[in-house]
Amino acid sequence: MLDHVCIFTKGGSLLWVLSFVGLKGDPINTLIRACLLEERAGQSSFEYIIPSGGTYALKWSLNNGLGLVFVAVYQKALKLLYVDELLERMNRAFAPRYKPGCFEYPDFDATFQRLLKDCEEKAEAARRPSTQQLAPAQVGAAAGQQRRASGAKTGGSSQEGDSDGTADGGEAAAAAAAPASGSDAGPAGDSAGQSSDDAEGEDGAANGAASEFVPNLDKLKKLGKRAGPGGKVTRHHADRVEEPKKKAPAGKKGKQARVWGDAANGKEEGPLDFTEGEPGEAQEVAADLNQRSLIDVEEEVTYDELEEEEEAAAAGAPKKGGLLSSFVRTIGVNVALTRTDIEPALATLKKKLMERNVAEEIADKVTESVATSLEGRKLASFTRVSTAVQQAVEEALTRILTPKRSIDVLREVKAVQAKGQPYTIVFVGVNGVGKSTNLAKVAYWLLQNGVKVMIAACDTFRSGAVEQLKTHCARLQVPLYERGYEKDPAKVAFEAAKAAQRSGIDVLLVDTAGRMQDNEPLMRALSNLINLNQPDLVLFVGEALVGNDAVDQLTKFNQRLADLCPDPTQRHLIDGIVLTKFDTIDDKVGAALSMVYTSGAPIMFVGCGQTYVDLKKLHVKSVVKSLLK
């Protein structure tokens, strides 16, 4: 049963606690920090993994008018069904007793015990009718009648119609009706649905397997016949494929097969190298290190006068809701917000967020969480519903985008410097987002702050990747560790770390190949690289132009890194995000929100151009303003 129930204020004071079994670990604080403060309050439950083994499930109910939170903790394996209802009833029962200055409510114990008994009995009762279904007769018509009876009990005249019509249609149709009744049994609880399925299974088995299987055999035969033409098709296709191959060599006899390889085959070098002039003539200009990277330059951030626009937009919304009701709402004192009040304002805000390129499911989750935290809150007099909603969404977005771990890379570098080891940063991401370019920008910035940098070329797949880094390194005057192409990136990174330590390098920047999040072998290779080298910082490079795919990319990258790690204590997930191509979007900055919400990692750098100085830090206020403009 339940392990622990408590009521506390949003300010952190416990008002009432009932502990059936002592809690292991710190589930409630973890719930607050990892869920309620992370704008995930719209979820239905939260799981807490106890350090010594086992899992707790936590459910909660919020009372936003009074600023209270009701939490119930139980073992996840138990699957209790009455907890949601219990929390709601606790909420309603406690609200009238609550006094702001009072912190002791001893008389609530009795009320709670009563509510608990009530809810437990209800859950038992919901399970009881299903046990009656399992008991009786198992022969044909009797079973059909029983099913019809159970259909009537769980409600829905359509099921009766179905079972009547198919009484002679054989078991197959009745089998179809029973799952329908099973799905309509939803309101009665999952247990009832499961037991009706059990009933159907038992009856079907008892009613003569032969009659049950005839239609299925027909279906199988049909499938078999389809396989025939399917088989012919493939063969036919194979014939077709072979023909063009025969044609092509016949037509182009003159073409010589090209031999690729590192082997010093003298005749290859000539025709492939079309550069003009001598190779040595390529001018290598060292980059000008005197220009300060934009990350260290203080920005004058000016906000446009948005007040008039906001007023106009807000004035438009209440007209939809009905002028009189909104009028009453604004002059009403201490009127609590209901779901229907906030719905229209939330819908407009969700649309606005999606227009700003926020992924659809993220916009949904954020508005859902804001709705949960606004329901029941009392408005100050003369405030419009839309302004209250706008304020709440602004606060929520600021909270999501504020980093919860330090993004001061320089300080971490200095801390690791003291240990005598290089600080390793790995750049990962999908193809073409700007990993190598932004790696060079970060190297430039670190050089300006007096840090010794080395770059490791672990992109051994893409043609020209190593040469690209060679050019950057020549311009920035930093050493490059490369082993050419077609080598194992993990080993290259390992050896690079050793070389960096020998040379007394402070920071090692590792460039990896771009890979799609669905590509299993490549993700495994990446996970291998990270596990073998244990870098200090794993940065996910994502472009600001990405839309809904941001969620997919980050979830899969994190999942792969977590799953493919042999040692669960040494899991290294994405620590930070580099948001690139920020100058190409005007105010459609939603990708920042999607990425941060999905991964929980802060945005450490923002790439806003293609030259070395175009590296900035994210300015939370301006991003939030752009999102809600």
Binding site: C6, F8, K10, G11, G12, S13, L14, L15, W16, V17, I28, N29, I32, R33, L36, L37, E38, G67, V69, F103, E104, I295, D296, E298, E299, E300, V301, T398, R399, I400, T402, P403, K404, R405, S406, I407, D408, L410, R411, K414, A415, N449, K617, L618, H619, V620, K621, V624
Partner: protein
């Protein structure tokens, strides 16, 4: 009669005398304002997560810690005389507005909202769990010290090392102070003129200490006028909050 007055006023000697008097009065008034220190009766309780701020808040405001606390999601506010003063029978003391700001990084940025009326800041640190979390604590202390509103008004700060009732497991005051000074010194170099990414205090973050010298609270007090003192604290005991109460009463005179 009027002509005589006009004559007296007209003479250059009296005019300059009047001007000098007015200027002198003005200077005196300005000096008084400048030296008087911050007005207002708000005392902020800030610090990293799990330091014991909400427990301290309840101890100061109500005199007991009730059933205990969980992580705060919102700020707690209370106005009135301190609980110990109420118990000692001096309710006429000037009411203090205590504000307990949550330590979670996502909701930490509310300090600037209260900076305008703040008379003192109590920075609460967990003495037992200090070493693994010292960078986090130092970062937050850095942010509070460089808060433009607080630095301009020279609001004094008290570094309260909580959980001293744990005896030998708790680090000493000096140890904590020196460690924090060293961390802030390092941060001065790496943070440079970066604005606060949390969206608050973007430009105009105050400088800490003296450039070129290693950072100490003393040098910061000498250079910027912000006094930073240290105190032991045990928020769970009624008697353990005496030093903090004394500090609060110094900031908000009764």
């Amino acid at each position: 009669m009027a002509e005589e007055v006009a004559q007296v006023l007209g003479s250059s000697g009296t005019l300059t005398l009047l001007v000098v008097l007015a200027a002198g009065l003005l200077v005196l008034a300005l000096l008084k304002l400048w030296l008087a220190g911050p007005k207002g009766n708000v005392v902020l309780l800030v610090g990293p997560c799990n330091a014991g701020k909400t427990t301290l808040f309840h101890q100061l405001a109500e005199g007991s810690t009730h059933l205990g606390t969980v992580a705060s999601m919102q700020a707690n506010e209370a106005e009135g005389p301190l609980a110990s003063e109420k118990a000692a029978g001096a309710p006429a003391a000037r009411p203090v507005r205590l504000v307990d700001i949550p330590g979670h990084p996502r909701v930490r940025g509310q300090v600037e909202r209260y900076a305008g009326g703040a008379a003192g800041v109590v920075f609460v640190v967990d003495s037992v769990d200090f070493m693994p979390r010292k960078t986090e604590a130092a970062e937050q202390l850095y942010e509070v010290l460089s808060q433009a509103g607080l630095a301009r008004r020279r609001v004094p700060l008290l570094l309260a090392c909580n959980k001293q009732d744990q005896g030998s497991k708790a680090h000493t005051l000096d140890f904590i102070r020196k460690r924090l000074e060293r961390e802030i010194d390092q941060m001065r170099g790496t943070r440079g003129s970066l604005g606060d990414v949390g969206g608050g205090g973007g430009g105009g973050a105050a400088q800490l200490g003296v450039r070129g010298e290693p950072f100490t609270f003393e040098s910061h007090a000498r250079a910027r006028g912000v006094r930073v003192t240290t105190a032991t604290l045990s928020a769970v005991d009624k008697g353990g909050v005496a030093e903090v109460e004394a500090f609060i009463r110094r900031c908000v005179p009764a």
